[in-house]
C-alpha cells in the first residue's frame, strides 16, 4: 500500500504579498515560502495511515524549480520515505501539473493519492479533481476524515451546509481539508537528517507531456479597498447610524 502526496511551495499564509509596480505579477522576492497548508494535512494523513500499519510507503512529489527542495525536505522531516522533484523552468499551471502528476502516478503506481484541496497562491482548487479525471479514478475532495479498510477508502467530505460520506475503491484521489488532522511539528534533528536524504529529480521536459501555460496573466493589481469607515463610541451611536444613514430598520 503506497501513498503519493503532492507538496506545493507557496508564500507563507501570514504574509501579505505586494504587487510589482508595473502590475505584471506579485513581488515574492525574498518572501518567506513554505508548504501549502492543505498539503501539510495531506502529508500528515499519509503518515498516520502508515503509522496505523495501513500503508507501507509514503512518497512526496513537488513540481517547480530546484528551490522546491525546501518543501520536500520539510516533507521528509515530517516522515515521508522518498521525495521526487519534477523540475520545470516554466511556471506550471494546474492542467499541466495534473498531467505531470499523472505520469508520476503511472510510474509509482500508488494505491492512494492525497493532495491539498487548494493552493493558497492560485486559490484554484482544481488539481485533485483534474488528476482523478485524467486517471478515471474515484475522487473525494475536501476530506475531513479518511478511513482505510482493505481496498476501500471511506471519506467524509465538508460540503456547503453539512458533510457527505463516500466509499471509494482504490486506487483513488483524495484532497485534504484543514480539519482532516493537525499536522505535526517538525523537530530540528529531523530537519537536519532530512537534509542528507536524496531527492530524485526528474526534468519535466523528459516526460513527454505538453505543459505550456493555457492562461495568460495580463495584469495584477490590489483589489479596490473598502471605503474607510468610522468609529462609533457606543451601541446607541451605532444604532443611530445604521438607522439614519443606512436606512436599516432595526
Amino acid at each position: 500500500m503506497k501513498i503519493l502526496v503532492a507538496v506545493k511551495r507557496v508564500v507563507d499564509y501570514n504574509i501579505k504579498v505586494r504587487v510589482k509596480p508595473d502590475g505584471s505579477n506579485v513581488d515574492i522576492d525574498g518572501v518567506k515560502m513554505g508548504v501549502n497548508p492543505f498539503d501539510e494535512n495531506a502529508i500528515e494523513e499519509a503518515l498516520r495511515l502508515k503509522e496505523q500499519g495501513k500503508a507501507t510507503e509514503v512518497v512526496a512529489v513537488s513540481f517547480g524549480t530546484q528551490v522546491n527542495q525546501d518543501v520536500l525536505r520539510h516533507a521528509l522531516a515530517m516522515g515521508v520515505d522518498r521525495a521526487i522533484l519534477v523540475e520545470s523552468a516554466e511556471k506550471l499551471q494546474s492542467l499541466a501539473v495534473a498531467k505531470l502528476i499523472k505520469t508520476v502516478v503511472e510510474r509509482e503506481q500508488p494505491d492512494l493519492i492525497i493532495l491539498g484541496k487548494q493552493s493558497i497562491d492560485d486559490d484554484a482548487g482544481q488539481m485533485g479533481q483534474m488528476l482523478a479525471g485524467l486517471l478515471n479514478y474515484p475522487q473525494a475532495t475536501f476530506a475531513s476524515s479518511i478511513n482505510l479498510e482493505g481496498k476501500v477508502a471511506t471519506v467524509t467530505r465538508e460540503v456547503d451546509g453539512g458533510t457527505e460520506t463516500l466509499a471509494l475503491d482504490l486506487p483513488a484521489v483524495i484532497t485534504a481539508d484543514l480539519r482532516l488532522n493537525e499536522p505535526r511539528f517538525v523537530k530540528l534533528p529531523n530537519l537536519m537528517m532530512a537534509r542528507k536524504k536524496p531527492i530524485e529529480t526528474i526534468n519535466a521536459d523528459t516526460l513527454g507531456i505538453e505543459h505550456e501555460p493555457r492562461l495568460k496573466l495580463l495584469k495584477v493589481s490590489e483589489p479596490p479597498a473598502r471605503k474607510a469607515g468610522i468609529r462609533v463610541s457606543s451601541v446607541e451611536e451605532l444604532l443611530t447610524k445604521l438607522r439614519g444613514e443606512e436606512g436599516i430598520n432595526l
Partner: protein
C-alpha cells in the same frame, strides 16, 4: 454554439445561485441551457422559470439521486461538444465537478471568476483575495465557476422547454454512503440578508449561543463563525465564513470578536455594510468595517440586542 450551466440543487430545491450564473452566462450572448442532474419536478419547474435561458436539460436516473462528481462529469462530457462555455456558480458542488470536466476536455479552468470581459478574459482573486489577476484563456472551450455575489440574479417568469436526456452508465468505483445537514431555523448563511459572526473570543459553545443567538433571532439573521471558533468547537463547521468556508455578501455583516484575518475577510468583504465589535482598537477587522465599536462584546452584544426594537420580518 451554446452555453451550458450546471444547475445545483439539494434534491428538493434549486439553489438560488443558479439565477446568478444565468446572468454571468448572458455575457456570451449565446443560447443558454441549464443542465439538471437528478432532482424533482419542483426543481425542473424552477429551472425552466428563469428568464434568459433557452432550455432545461434533465437527466434522471437512480444513480443521480445523490449525484457524484464522477457521474455528473461524465454526463456533462456526454453533451459537451455542443458548448463553447460551461459554467456554474462557485460552490462545493461545482468545484468538485468542473475541474474533472475541464481536464477531460483538455482545457484550463477558471475558478471563482469575479468578472467576465471580452476575449475570454476574466478577473479572479489570488492569495486569499489580497490581489486581483486579469487572466486570458487561450483554450477553445471556457470552463469556469463564477463568484455569485458579483452577479445579479436573473429574474423569473420564463417557461423554457424541458428536454430529457440520457445519463451515461454509473461510475461504480465510488459509492455514496451518507450525508449530514446541519438543520437550523435560521436563514441559509449564503443567502441571508444579515449575518452575525462570532470568533474565538466567545470562549465556549454555550457563550456563543447565549450571546449571539438572541441577536441573530431578533435580526432574523444567519449565524456565522471564524475558523478559530469552529476549531474550538464553539460552532458547527458549516457556518465557517472564509477561504475554507462559506463566502457571504449580506446587506449587513456584524463581526463580533473577530480579528479580521485575510482568510476570514475573504468570505465577507463583499458585504454591503460591515459592523465590527472588538475590544482591540488595532484589530485588522476595523480596516474593512464601515462602523467599528471598540468594546467588550459581552457588554456590547446584550446591549445591542436589547436596543433593537422589534424582530425584523
Amino acid at each position: 454554439m451554446r452555453t451550458l450551466i450546471i444547475a445545483e440543487h439539494n434534491g428538493k430545491l434549486l439553489n438560488p445561485a443558479v439565477q446568478k450564473a444565468v446572468t454571468a452566462a448572458q455575457f456570451w450572448q449565446a443560447p443558454i441551457d441549464l443542465l439538471v442532474a437528478g432532482g424533482n419536478d419542483a426543481i425542473i419547474q424552477a429551472a425552466a422559470s428563469i428568464n434568459g435561458i433557452s432550455r432545461v436539460l434533465h437527466a434522471n436516473a437512480a444513480h443521480l439521486a445523490h449525484p457524484l462528481a464522477e457521474d455528473v462529469a461524465n454526463l456533462i462530457l456526454s453533451i459537451a461538444s455542443d458548448y463553447q462555455v460551461i459554467l456554474a456558480a462557485h460552490s462545493s458542488f461545482s468545484r468538485n465537478i468542473l475541474p474533472r470536466v475541464s481536464a477531460l476536455l483538455d482545457v484550463a479552468m477558471i475558478s471563482d471568476a469575479l468578472a467576465i470581459q471580452e476575449n475570454n478574459t476574466y478577473i479572479r482573486s489570488g492569495f486569499t483575495g489580497s490581489i486581483h489577476n486579469v487572466i486570458q484563456s487561450t483554450d477553445h472551450v471556457q470552463v469556469l465557476t463564477v463568484h455569485s455575489s458579483r452577479f445579479a440574479a436573473a429574474s423569473l417568469g420564463n417557461n423554457a422547454e424541458v428536454i430529457n436526456i440520457d445519463a451515461p452508465a454509473p461510475f461504480t468505483k465510488t459509492r455514496w454512503v451518507s450525508e449530514t445537514h446541519n438543520l437550523s431555523d435560521r436563514p441559509a448563511l449564503s443567502s441571508a440578508k444579515i449575518v452575525v459572526s462570532g470568533g474565538r473570543s466567545l470562549g465556549s459553545a454555550e457563550k456563543f449561543e447565549e450571546v449571539l443567538a438572541p441577536l441573530a433571532t431578533k435580526l432574523g439573521a444567519a449565524l456565522g463563525a471564524t475558523r478559530a471558533a469552529v476549531d474550538a468547537g464553539y460552532a458547527p463547521n458549516d457556518i465557517q465564513v472564509g477561504q475554507t468556508g462559506v463566502v457571504v455578501a449580506p446587506e449587513l455583516y456584524i463581526a463580533v470578536g473577530v480579528s479580521g484575518a485575510v482568510q476570514h475577510t475573504y468570505g465577507m468583504k463583499d458585504s454591503k455594510i460591515v459592523v465590527a465589535i472588538n475590544q482591540d482598537p488595532d484589530a485588522p477587522i476595523f480596516q474593512i468595517a464601515d462602523y467599528g465599536l471598540v468594546s467588550d462584546l459581552f457588554e456590547a452584544i446584550p446591549a445591542l440586542t436589547a436596543a433593537i426594537k422589534q424582530p425584523l420580518q
